[in-house]
Amino acid sequence: MSQFVNIFLIPGVLLMIFILISLFRLILGPTVPDRVVALDTINTLVIAGMILFGAAFDSIIYIDVAIVYALLSYIATLYIAKYMERRTKDK
């Protein structure tokens, strides 16, 4: 069992490094849609990381958190997109 914990732990840590790379785009993105794209990428990577860590630490509750996080981040993305569209229509 202990060898399987290690095999899921290392890709999880690599995903955290990719989140860090995407965070640079979130900080220095020139326009607003650039930052939204970076946020969407970070959300997907966080969901994949939650699934991997849930398998690494043998706890099913992490996977349930990942399901809820996927649906809520989808709603947040749609709301931000709707807000950008509406703000430009008023101008």
């Binding site: 060898q3 399987f4 095999i7 899921f8 890709p11 690599l14 995903l15 990719f18 989140i19 790379i21 995407s22 640079f24 785009r25 326009t31 607003v32 849609p33 650039d34 939204v36 794209v37 970076a38 969407d40 990428t41 997907t44 990577l45 969901i47 994949a48 699934i51 991997l52 849930g54 398998a55 043998d58 099913i60 996977i63 349930d64 990942a66 399901i67 996927a70 649906l71 981040s73 989808y74 993305t77 749609l78 931000i80 997109a81 709707k82 950008m84 569209e85 703000r87 430009t88 229509k89």
Partner: protein, 117 residues
């Protein structure tokens, strides 16, 4: 078993890394969206499939139904991810085009001539 899990995880991590590197390398919003969304969705599918294979294999070997529950919940999370991710990308691209962000080196823009309300 160890080899199958390693291959699935390496494919998934490789494509996730390509997605986040493409986010840094590409010049404008639409190419970044193209790279990031497709690559991270594909990579997340493969890392989740490795967890599903792990869960079903240990369910069969040890007879503990905890691993079966792990695999089934991962399938639900994967279905949510596959359905919601391209829809969110479509919404972002549509909002970016409507808020006036043009692609760099755009050759032709068919949406500009279309009558948007």
């Amino acid at each position: 078993m160890f080899i199958i899990l390693s291959i699935l995880l390496i494919i998934g991590i490789f494509f996730n890394g390509l997605g986040s590197i493409g986010l840094m390398r590409f010049p404008d919003v639409y190419t970044r969206l193209h790279a990031a969304t497709k690559c991270t969705t594909f990579g997340s599918i493969f890392t989740s499939i490795s967890v599903i294979v792990f869960g079903f294999y240990f369910w069969k070997v040890s007879g503990d139904s905890k691993y079966g529950v792990l695999a089934l919940h991962t399938i639900v999370a994967l279905a949510c991810l596959i359905i919601t991710n391209p829809t969110g990308a479509h919404a972002i691209a549509r909002a970016a085009h409507r808020s006036g962000v043009m692609p760099k080196q755009a050759v032709i823009d068919d949406l500009k001539e279309a009558d948007l309300e």
